[in-house]
Amino acid sequence: MKIDREKLHSPFVEQVERVSGEVFANCYQCGNCTGGCPVSFAMDYGPSQIIRLLQLGQEQLVATANSMWLCVGCLQCYSRCPKGVSAASILEALRQMTLRKGEDHEDVGGLPFPFLKDAPQQAIISGFRKFVS
């Protein structure tokens, strides 16, 4: 990994901070968030690792990691953070920045019929909010 002084405060990093409302420098990497995260096992990088990568200006690794699409927004990370950082907000910011470019994560037309028929409305609506622009 190449750490580039110019990229430490790149427009991308600044945008993620602005959209999420979080300050990456507040995180001292204790790892409580990743430890409590119910989906970190399936993430390319756990929540604390995503924050570390952002602290190091690693736009490419962060933007292509699956982590943002797996965050369930359960807020266990925020609940257990000794510094009050919400990793869920950072992952949501990454999601929103992608969706705002029109890059959907889920193909609405391709959703299976049994899901649309049986699922509670809240699953469909929150799914759209998280995965569709």
Binding site: R18, V19, S20, G21, P38, V39, A42, L70, V72, G73, C74, L75, Q76, Y78, S79, S86, A88, S89, E92, A93, Q96, H105, E106, L111, F115, D118, A119, P120, Q121, Q122, A123, I124, I125, S126, G127, R129, K130, F131
Partner: protein, 290 residues
């Protein structure tokens, strides 16, 4: 005159979770108050926007709150997600002048400054009715049925916005279950996520998280799981179906807390929608002579 509490059902309770809605309304009547459905309501948006930058995500819940404010100074919910979204949005509308302005002038075009008190039905039972009075109204004690209270996420977190109970070691559910004659069972995954909206496209992860919850409850001796969230209910039940197809064996019924409440208060089993097959708690009731 019977006390009336303005009530926001939300989309899911109006459709696939009718048993949750009916059992709560009927239980309220037995306990001496009416859950009066709001005249005007819309979807809460089903997820609170986690970034302060997403003001549009506040529009739907703010509209619900603005409408509700013309019908009283409190609004009660049953669904954990609606509760979370409305309560958090209400806090923004009350405390954050800038975002309140944006929501009002940009979207809802109605003045609203967060004056409502958003409460969950569990809080109504604890704080307005009192669990002792609930205990006194029980006609059909549940004779020590071992119940795992599954809180999930939205009822508890974030503590500073929601604050219904301790976020790591809540007891509100257990206290209610005890009043109904159940024996609450502690289990490690009671505040863990079911997989939530990953129900859309992330079934493998949902199956893993939800089956961990069920196995954790069953492994601690629970005979039933009790929830207050239709999405948790759906994810648990669907995960169990997927596991059974693959030869797994997890038979623990998953019910809404109001169904258990209604049962203990002596309501007709038919209106409680206790379900069939694997969801059905009736064989257990019969076995215990309840």
């Amino acid at each position: 005159m019977m006390m009336k509490i303005p009530y926001y059902p939300g989309c899911t309770l109006n459709t696939v979770a009718k048993g949750f809605d009916v059992s709560a309304r009927e239980s309220a009547l037995v306990l001496g108050f009416e859950l009066k459905e709001l005249d005007q309501w819309n979807c809460c948006g089903a997820s609170f926007p986690l970034t302060p930058d997403n003001v549009m995500g506040l529009a739907a819940p703010a509209k619900v709150l603005a409408n509700a404010s013309s019908e009283g100074d409190v609004v009660a919910t049953l669904c954990s997600v609606c509760y979370n979204v409305l309560k958090r949005t209400n806090k923004v509308m009350r405390d954050d002048r800038d975002r309140r302005r944006e929501v009002i002038s940009g979207f809802i075009e109605e003045e609203y400054e967060g004056g409502l008190d958003v409460v969950h039905f569990l809080e109504v039972l604890r704080d307005k009715v009192g669990f002792d009075r609930v205990r006194g109204a029980v006609k059909r004690p549940l004779k020590g049925i071992k119940a795992g209270a599954y809180y999930g996420c939205m009822l508890l977190r974030p503590f500073d916005d929601v604050g219904i109970d301790n976020a790591e070691a809540p007891v509100i559910f257990e206290d209610l279950l005890r009043a109904l004659g159940c024996e609450p069972v502690e289990f490690p995954n009671k505040i863990e996520c079911c997989g939530a909206h990953l129900a859309m496209g992330g079934e493998d992860i949902v199956t893993r998280l939800s089956s961990n919850v069920m196995a954790s409850a069953a492994g601690s001796g629970a005979e039933i799981i009790v929830t207050s969230c239709p999405l948790c209910q759906y994810n648990l039940v669907k995960s169990r179906e997927r596991m059974m197809e693959e030869g797994g064996d997890l038979r623990i019924p998953v019910l809404y807390f109001t169904q258990i409440l209604g049962l203990a208060l002596g309501q007709d089993e038919d209106i409680l929608e206790l379900g069939s097959g694997l969801h059905d708690i009736r064989p257990l009731l019969e076995e215990r002579g309840i």
